[in-house]
C-alpha cells in the first residue's frame, strides 16, 4: 500500500488541492481509506491528518470502514420513491443477503441509499462503485445480484445496465445549435473581447445555476484590476474559470445531458469566458454521481488540445487556457459556489463567509468566476450569434430560454427547452401530464405550486428554477414529498452553522412526527416557527431554502397538516413504549405488564 499511495501522491504532484482525487483512488482500491493511508498522506502532502479525516467524514462516498467490493447505492429521490424505491431496495437487500446500510459478511457487497443521482427520467437509479445504473427493475436487480455473486468485473456486466439516455424531447434555441469546434472562440476574437462581453451583456444572460446573477456583470467584476503595477500585482492577476457541474438539486439532470451531448460548446463557453476575464486555468467540478461521463469528457478535452482549442496560444490568438476535470464525492452543498471552491482546494465543502465574493477572492484566493454548465453553453452561442439573437426570446427580466429536466408523473420525462415566460400549463401539456395535483418547480429548494397556479410563468420574476420540474398527480401525497425533502436537507446540511445544522435535523423530526400521526395542536405553530428560524438565520442558500418544502405546502394546504393532528393538546415527540424496548430485552420480558399504552 505504501508504494501505491506514494505513487498516487506523486502523480498528483504532492498537491493537497488534489486530495479528493487521491482519496477517490484509495477508496476504489481498498474500499475504504485505511488509517495507515491517512497517516502517510498527511506526511507526504504536508497537511494535518485531521484535514484528511474531515474530508473523509464529510463526503458520502468516502469511508473509514470498508464497504463491499461492489458498493451499491440506490437513489432515494422523490422520483425514485414514486416508482417503488422502497420495495425495490428491500428486494435488492433480500436477494443480496445484506441489510441496507451494511456490508455482507463476506465483504463482497454493500448496499445503501443515496441522495438523487440525477437520473430522475430513468428511475429507479443507482450507482455501483460510482457508475450510474438506470431503470432498475426486479429483473435487472436479479441480473446485478448474479453478477455480484459471481464476482464478475464491472467491465463484463451487460452495458445495458449502464445505459444513460439523453431523452431530449423538446429542443429550442440552444439545443438546436451545433456549432463547429472553434467557432465561438474565433467569433470572440474577431469581434473583440470587450465587444463580446458587451454582447453577453446585451443578451441579458443570467446565471442558470439558480441565483440568476447577470453573467456579464460577474465576468466584469472578475476581470477588474487593482491597478497597481508591481510583481505582486502581476501574480495577483492569476484568475480562474469554474464550471459548476455539481447538479445536486433533486430532479435536475439537464447538465448531465448538456455535458454528454454539448460538451464542446460548454468547453468553448468556458474558453470564451477565460479570454474575457483573463484566466489561464479552468476547472469543471463534476459531481461524483456523473463518473460515467468522466472518460468521455477527458477524451473531448484531449481532442480539443490536439486541435489547439486548448493549451498555448489558442488558435493563434495569443491566449493560453486549459481545463481540468475534478470529481466530487457525494455532497449537495458543493454546488454552492464557495463550498465548491473549498472542495476544489482539497477540503470539506463548507461555504465561506461573504464578502469577499469569489469574483475577488475565489480559488486559492484569486478572482474566480463560477458559472453553471448551461450558462457557458448559452454564452458560447451568444458569442457566435450576438446578444440580440438570445434577447429576442423570453421576458423583460428573463431573456432567452431555459432548459428543464422534467420528471415525475408525465408521459414523457426528459429534457425540454422553453423561452422564459412559458406557462406551467404549456409545459404540462407538452410532457403529457394529466390529473395533476401540483408541480415542484426548482427542486426541494424551490416552490411547490398547486393546480390553481398553472398559468404562472417560468421566469426569474415569477417561478425561478435551476431546471428541476417534478410533476405529481392526484394519487400522490404531498406530505410524502415534504417528508422526503426534509430528510434530504438534514442529510446534506454541511453543519457549519447552528440554525441549519440543528434546525434541519429538528425539522426532519418534526415533519416525521406529524406525518406519522403523532402531531398535536401546538405542533404546526412550532413547525412554522422553526422553518422561519432556519430560513432567516442560516449561513448559506442550503439552510435558507431548506424549509421551503414545508413553508410552500403549509401555505397552500394548511388543512392537510391539520388533518394529520391528533385531537389532544400535546403529544410527546417520542414513543414511550418503544423507548422501553431495551429494558424489556434486558429483563427478558415481553408480557402485557411490560408495555405502556400511550395516553390518547
Amino acid at each position: 500500500m505504501q508504494q501505491f499511495i506514494r505513487q498516487l501522491a506523486q502523480e498528483n504532484d504532492f498537491q493537497s488541492t488534489r486530495l479528493l482525487k487521491i482519496l477517490r483512488a484509495v477508496q476504489a482500491r481498498y474500499f475504504h481509506i485505511p488509517k495507515a493511508a491517512i497517516e502517510q498522506l498527511a506526511l507526504i502532502l504536508s497537511i494535518p491528518r485531521t484535514q484528511i479525516q474531515n474530508v473523509i467524514e464529510f463526503y458520502s462516498f468516502f469511508h473509514l470502514e470498508p464497504r463491499g467490493k461492489y458498493d451499491i447505492l440506490i437513489s432515494s429521490s422523490i422520483t425514485d420513491l414514486m416508482v417503488g424505491q422502497e420495495e425495490l431496495i428491500n428486494y435488492f437487500s433480500e436477494k443480496l443477503g445484506v441489510k441496507i446500510g451494511e456490508v455482507r459478511a463476506d465483504g463482497v457487497v454493500s448496499l445503501n441509499n443515496t441522495s438523487c443521482t440525477g437520473m430522475c427520467d430513468q428511475s429507479l437509479a443507482g450507482l455501483v462503485n460510482g457508475y450510474a445504473l438506470t431503470n432498475l427493475t426486479k429483473s435487472r436487480i436479479d441480473e446485478i445480484v448474479e453478477n455480484v455473486n459471481k464476482q464478475l468485473p464491472l467491465e463484463q456486466w451487460s452495458s445495458d445496465l449502464f445505459t444513460v439516455a439523453d431523452n431530449i424531447i423538446k429542443p429550442d434555441l440552444l439545443l438546436n445549435q451545433k456549432p463547429t469546434q472553434g467557432e465561438a472562440i474565433n467569433a470572440t476574437f474577431a469581434r473583440g473581447l470587450k465587444e463580446t462581453l458587451d454582447e453577453v451583456e446585451k443578451s441579458g444572460l443570467r446565471g442558470r445555476g439558480g441565483a440568476g446573477y447577470t453573467t456579464a456583470w460577474k465576468w466584469k467584476f472578475c476581470s477588474e484590476d487593482e491597478g497597481i503595477c508591481d510583481i505582486e500585482a502581476q501574480r495577483q492577476k492569476q484568475r480562474y474559470i469554474i464550471c459548476n457541474a455539481d447538479e445536486g438539486e433533486p430532479g435536475t439532470f439537464k447538465d448531465r445531458v448538456l455535458l454528454n451531448s454539448y460538451a464542446d460548446s460548454v468547453f468553448e463557453g468556458m474558453t470564451v469566458a477565460a479570454a474575457i476575464i483573463g484566466a489561464t486555468q479552468g476547472f469543471i467540478y463534476l459531481r461524483g454521481e456523473y463518473l460515467h461521463l468522466y472518460e468521455k469528457l477527458e477524451a473531448i478535452l484531449a481532442v480539443r488540445r490536439n486541435a489547439n482549442l486548448l493549451g498555448k496560444n489558442i488558435l493563434q490568438h495569443g491566449f493560453d487556457f486549459d481545463i481540468e476535470i475534478c470529481l466530487g464525492a457525494g455532497a449537495y452543498i458543493c454546488g454552492e459556489e464557495s463550498a465548491l471552491i473549498e472542495s476544489l482546494e482539497g477540503k470539506a465543502g463548507i461555504p465561506r463567509n461573504r464578502p469577499p465574493y469569489p469574483v475577488t477572492s475565489g480559488y486559492l484566493g484569486k478572482p474566480t468566476s463560477v458559472n453553471n454548465v448551461e450558462t457557458f453553453l448559452a454564452a458560447a452561442n451568444i458569442a457566435i450569434h450576438g446578444g440580440d439573437w438570445f434577447a429576442n426570446l423570453g421576458t423583460a427580466k428573463s431573456k432567452g430560454t431555459k432548459v428543464l429536466s422534467i420528471s415525475g408523473d408525465c408521459a414523457k420525462a426528459g429534457i425540454y427547452e422553453y423561452p422564459f415566460g412559458t406557462t406551467i400549463q404549456t409545459v404540462l401539456d407538452d410532457c403529457g401530464a394529466t390529473d395533476v395535483l401540483g408541480v415542484q418547480v426548482g427542486g426541494p429548494s424551490g416552490t411547490f405550486i398547486s393546480n390553481d397556479e398553472f398559468e404562472r410563468k417560468l421566469a426569474f420574476e415569477d417561478l425561478a428554477t435551476g431546471g428541476s420540474f417534478i410533476v405529481f398527480n392526484n394519487s400522490r401525497s404531498i406530505l410524502d414529498v415534504v417528508h422526503n425533502f426534509s430528510h434530504f436537507f438534514a442529510h446534506e446540511s454541511c453543519g457549519f452553522c447552528t440554525p441549519c445544522r440543528v434546525g434541519t435535523s429538528l425539522l426532519k423530526k418534526q415533519v416525521d412526527k406529524i406525518v406519522e400521526g403523532h402531531g398535536s395542536a401546538g405542533d404546526i405553530v412550532a413547525l412554522e416557527e422553526l422553518c422561519q428560524l432556519i430560513k432567516n438565520y442560516s449561513h448559506c442558500g442550503l439552510g435558507q431554502t431548506a424549509a421551503n418544502p414545508v413553508l410552500t405546502t403549509l401555505e397552500r394546504y394548511p388543512e392537510l397538516y391539520q388533518n394529520m393532528l391528533k385531537k389532544i393538546s400535546y403529544e410527546p415527540g417520542f414513543d414511550l413504549d418503544k423507548s422501553l424496548e431495551t429494558a424489556r430485552r434486558m429483563a427478558h420480558r415481553d408480557d402485557a405488564a411490560a408495555h405502556l399504552a400511550q395516553v390518547e
Binding site: E57, A490, E492, T498, G503
Partner: protein, 239 residues
Amino acid sequence: MNKSIVIDGKNIPFEDGQTIMQAATAAGVYIPHLCHNPKFTPHGSCKLCTVKVNGRNCSACTFPAAEGQTITNITQELNDDREKITQMLFVEGNHFCPSCEKTGNCNLQAVAYHLGMTDNHFPHFFENREVDASHPDVMIDHNRCIFCTLCVRASQQEDGKNVFSISGRGIEKRLVVNSESGLLKDSDLDVNDCAAHICPTGAILIKRTGYKVPIGQRIYDHSHIDTITLAAEGASHDE
C-alpha cells in the same frame, strides 16, 4: 476617520476593515456572540451575533462595517430568535449545568440567562458522546462541545500548533484531536496552551482545578455577560 454606522439609533464610529462586531465592541455596544473572540479570525458559525443591516440579517462578527449601514441589534425579534438558536445548542449536546464544573463561568449558560431562556423548547437529541480523559492535565467532554472552533483557532493562531479540528458533516459534526490515536494524550497539547483555556463551555476543562472557585463567586454569578464581555473584549481591542 469619521466614518460611522448606526446601531439601535446610536452613531458608532468605525475604521475601514473593521467588522460590525469590532466597531460595536470598541464603542461599548454588546452584540451577543459565542463563536467570536476578538483574538482570532472570525468564524461566523453560531449565528448568535445576527443583526439586521438595512433590514437584512448579517453575522456581525464577519460582516464589514460600511458607511450607510443602519443596524438593529437589541430588539425583541432578534433576541427571541437568538434565544431559540441558543436552545438549539442546548438540545444538540448534553448540557446538565448543575453537574458541570463550568457552571457560572460558562458563556453558553451566561448567554442563555442573558436572553431570558428558561427551558430548552426543542426536543433533545440525547446524543451519545464520549469523554476523553486520557491527557494528564486536560479533559474533553464532547457532550458540551458547540463546534465554535475557538479551540481550533487558538491552537493554530496562538499556540502555533494544530491540536483540534472539527470533522464530519451536518448533525454528525464532532471535535477531533490531531494525533494518531485520536486521543488528547498523544497530541501536542500542553496545559498552558491557549487552546486548553479558550472553550466557552465546559467541553475542555483543566484537571485538578475543579471548584477551586466556589459557586457564587464565579464570573457570571453577579454580572451579566454583556458587562463582562465588554470589559474583557473592549480592552483587548485597544492592545
